[in-house]
Amino acid sequence: MISKQELLAKIQHILPKPLYAEIENAVKDLDDERALRLIYRVLRLYLNSLIDPGEAIGIVTAQSIGEPGTQMILRSFHYAGLREFSMARGLPRLIEVVDARRTPSTPLMYIYLKPPHNKSREAAEAVAKKIQQVTLEMLAKEVDVDYISGAITIELDTEQLRYRGLNIKEVEKIVSKARGKDLSISFRGHTITVTLTSPDIFKLRKVRDKILQIKVAGIKGVRKVVLQYDSKADEWFIVTEGTNLEAVLQLEEVDATRTYSNDLHEVEEVLGIEAARALVAQEIKRVLDEQGLDVDIRHMYMVADTMTWSGRLRPIGRHGVVGAKESPLARAAFEVTVKTLIEASVRGEEEAFKGVVESIIAGKYIPIGTGIVRLLMQF
């Protein structure tokens, strides 16, 4: 008989870390015989709980997410909980994630800060001010358009300037870059005057909008910032509407290891495919949790893994995962059957009848469960 230490050493690589730590702790005070019995029992239970080769895990995932999904509230309202902005949630957000849409309907960033900055509201607010995009419009007290002389007068608000920590010289420097050959800009005190040499009403309006949207400070794309307090971790963090991960991660105060946005493609680009995978799973989990649906996280990882298997983010559907299938019949069985078949025949594709869908169409055994085993019989 071997000692419990020897057995523990043997199973260390078999069991997952948390389980191993638990059993190691549990057998600490047991004698060898009882310890061995316990370890063998746990080991057997663990090995029995593993997924067998040939198990149709994709179908299990589809059903496990699909059934609770039917219970979901189709459209949801603006919640009172998250002040100042509403967020896509529920089914719309779920569809957005599995379709891997370019930009989410509510792009958000969750910005976590490094220690001294996340401890007080004031410190976090100072960072938030640096992040929020400040346009000239936000600084203006009054905007006046004189259609006769072709002049736009913008009076800056001194209060706003002080609040944003800007001085008039900086603003002048940035605004004067907008000067063009038919556009002259002059400054007097807190007043900016933009004059057009050839005034016409439509152009004047266009110029007005353009001038007001000039970014004076902050990070481009960040429209709103809201401070939030996490009582569990005792820290302040920033939630923003509008995303620009790349720029935010450059900031010194920002904890780049935790900050993320809900824009899948942005995360894939800036943080990589592994991060995108984690985000897909996390977003689906969040949507289902919010609706009070309890689905095991492993199903989300299954979806996320299929979407990110190829090294880039692919939607579930005929433009992504299904469309990338080798078998023309499997593709045709999904959507737009005729078009898919015609294109496949034009290209001269071959059908190998290896997958599940093709095998069903052909009336063969499917490569699932016991059907995955191939035997050669000796006559």
């Binding site: 997952p16 780049a256 996280i297």
Partner: protein, 75 residues
């Protein structure tokens, strides 16, 4: 290691020998591993070239820590 986040704990390029052994153990061809593009921030971090195999240690809520391998592909 400044930008490794959202679930990734460690990344490294594994030596050719080790990669061969891994493929033998799993009884698969290299392209049957999940892929990662060589332009991916994670691949750039360890300076991986197409053909390399990356060892990635993920955080996992169920298994504590989980090791995955990804084949580096051009792109």
């Amino acid at each position: 290691m400044s930008r490794v986040s959202l679930g990734v704990r460690e990344v490294s390029v594994i030596p050719k020998e080790e990669a061969k052994e891994l493929l033998k153990r799993l009884r698969i061809r290299p392209w049957q591993l999940p892929w990662i593009r060589s332009s991916d921030p994670l691949a750039k971090l360890v300076d991986a070239k197409p053909g390399d195999v990356l060892k990635i240690v993920r955080e996992s809520p169920t298994a504590g820590e989980f090791v995955v391998y990804r084949l580096v592909v051009p792109g």
